[in-house]
């Protein structure tokens, strides 16, 4: 099997992967990074969003081998030691989750969004959440959390 070298959450690693293995399964099954979720497996729900070289992508819609020589951040890699990332903090403070299943993807999407568009409003946040579904329909507090996080990052 081909060998891939990937930097995951700041640590370089190498591993053999089967060509057809999806990145999300590599993360969850081989590396035990189970914070990245599989919600729909059909590229719609965004529960599997990770950062590939700094950009949010769906890890269920790419192969592990495509990530060879890349740098990946998953939800496990956001916090620094015991200090939550400002977006994680904002979700906690604003009750930005109900069952929590979509949360890793929501947070990874939000971090990417705030990086691309530091000045946000509710309309932009709702449009930008196009690729992330919350089946609890808890969008109200998710949007509130992202707006609060953007403000915090700005300050």
């Amino acid at each position: 099997m081909p060998l891939v070298e990937i930097e995951i959450n700041g640590k370089k690693m190498s591993s053999e992967v089967e060509e057809r293995q999806l990145l999300v399964h590599f993360l969850r099954d081989d590396l035990n990074l189970t914070g990245t979720h599989v919600g729909c497996d059909t590229s719609q729900c965004g529960a599997c969003v990770i950062h590939l070289d700094g950009n949010a992508v769906k890890s269920c819609s790419m192969l592990a081998i495509q990530a060879n020589n890349s740098s990946i951040t998953t939800i496990e890699g956001l916090a620094e030691e015991n200090k939550l990332h400002p977006v994680q903090e904002a979700f906690k403070e604003n009750h930005g989750l109900q069952c929590g299943f979509c949360t890793p993807g929501m947070i990874m999407a939000a971090v990417d969004l705030i990086k691309r568009k530091p000045i946000l409003n509710e309309k932009i946040v709702r449009e930008e959440l196009e690729g992330n579904l919350c089946r609890c329909t808890g969008y109200q507090n998710i949007v509130k959390s992202i707006l609060a996080a953007a403000e915090k990052v700005q300050a």
């Binding site: 081909p2 060509e19 057809r20 999806l22 497996d41 059909t42 590229s43 719609q44 965004g46 969003v49 590939l52 950009n55 949010a56 992508v57 769906k58 819609s61 790419m62 192969l63 081998i65 495509q66 060879n68 999407a109 990417d112 969004l113 691309r116 930008e128 196009e130 690729g131 992330n132």
Partner: protein
């Protein structure tokens, strides 16, 4: 997913020779259609040739007449490019409306055009602006390029390298997205240059993207919102599916065309 083997290439030449060596191979760029299709076992290529990181295909530039976009530029590259925004704001807006942010970070312009999904956005821009599509072998005008559903004029060993869009400031894309998928239920790209009016329709045609000649002729002889309002697309040949029947879709096309013309008339 069925088994396949995978190679990553770094130049167009490597991609071309890999593809001509293996007729059962498929080019993988962003993979936003190909990978989900393979997951469902609707496609089973023997080999994937990954061109996502072929640097010579990742560029956006312009001269006085054209904006030229390398084929592995992703939708975010296009929508966030100052060159595109200044010269062809209609194209920038179109790219920003494709899929969702995560899909836009992977999906490429070359992939979208090669796939020729009947509800994709880029084919409308290509036809609506009269783009020229360059491959590893030749240059093809958009008018010849799109053949039928998921079918283009591309040969089996041909790879798109760049797309060149004439800078037509008077251009506008209006889309009625499917509320779930964001694919176009009806998308109309209208451009008005010194020489012609073009009206391209995606999301609606039974044979994929098409130029709406009747509307083009009417607007050429009399450019106005009332002209746009008076021309109605025949539902014959318009797609009918679970999301909408052909009458409904044809009406959406009428409305998107009218909105595009109104938008251009108010702007100029």
């Amino acid at each position: 997913m069925y088994k396949f083997n995978y190679i990553k290439v770094e130049t167009i030449e490597e991609a071309s020779s890999a593809l001509s060596n293996n007729p059962e191979a498929k080019i993988l760029a962003g993979g936003m259609t190909l990978i989900p299709t393979m997951k469902q076992r609707l496609a089973s290529p023997e080999q994937l040739i990954d061109i996502r990181q072929v640097n010579e295909l990742k560029f956006i530039k312009s001269d006085s007449n054209n904006v030229v976009i390398g084929s592995v530029s992703n939708h975010y590259d296009v929508s966030s490019s100052d060159i595109v925004r200044e010269n062809l704001p209609s194209l920038s807006k179109l790219a920003e409306g494709i899929g969702d942010p995560h899909v836009r970070n992977m999906g490429t312009i070359g992939g979208s055009i090669t796939n020729n999904d009947p509800t994709a956005d880029y084919p409308a821009a290509c036809l609506g602006l009269g783009a020229t599509i360059k491959t590893n072998k030749r240059e093809i005008s958009a008018d010849e390029f799109f053949v039928d559903l998921f079918e283009t004029i591309l040969g089996e060993d041909e790879i798109i390298t760049q797309v060149s869009f004439p800078i037509i400031k008077n251009s506008c894309y209006m889309k009625f997205p499917n509320p779930a998928s964001r694919y176009a239920m009806a998308g109309v790209f209208v451009s008005k240059s010194d020489s012609e009016v073009r009206v391209a329709v995606t999301g609606a045609g039974e044979n994929g993207v098409f130029r709406w000649k009747e509307m083009e002729d009417a607007l050429t002889s009399n450019w106005s919102s009332s002209t746009a309002e008076s021309i109605k697309l025949s539902p014959d040949g318009v797609m009918s599916d679970i999301h909408g029947n052909s009458d409904y879709r044809a009406n959406l096309v009428n409305i998107m065309a009218l909105r595009a013309v109104e938008n251009l008339s108010n702007g100029s």
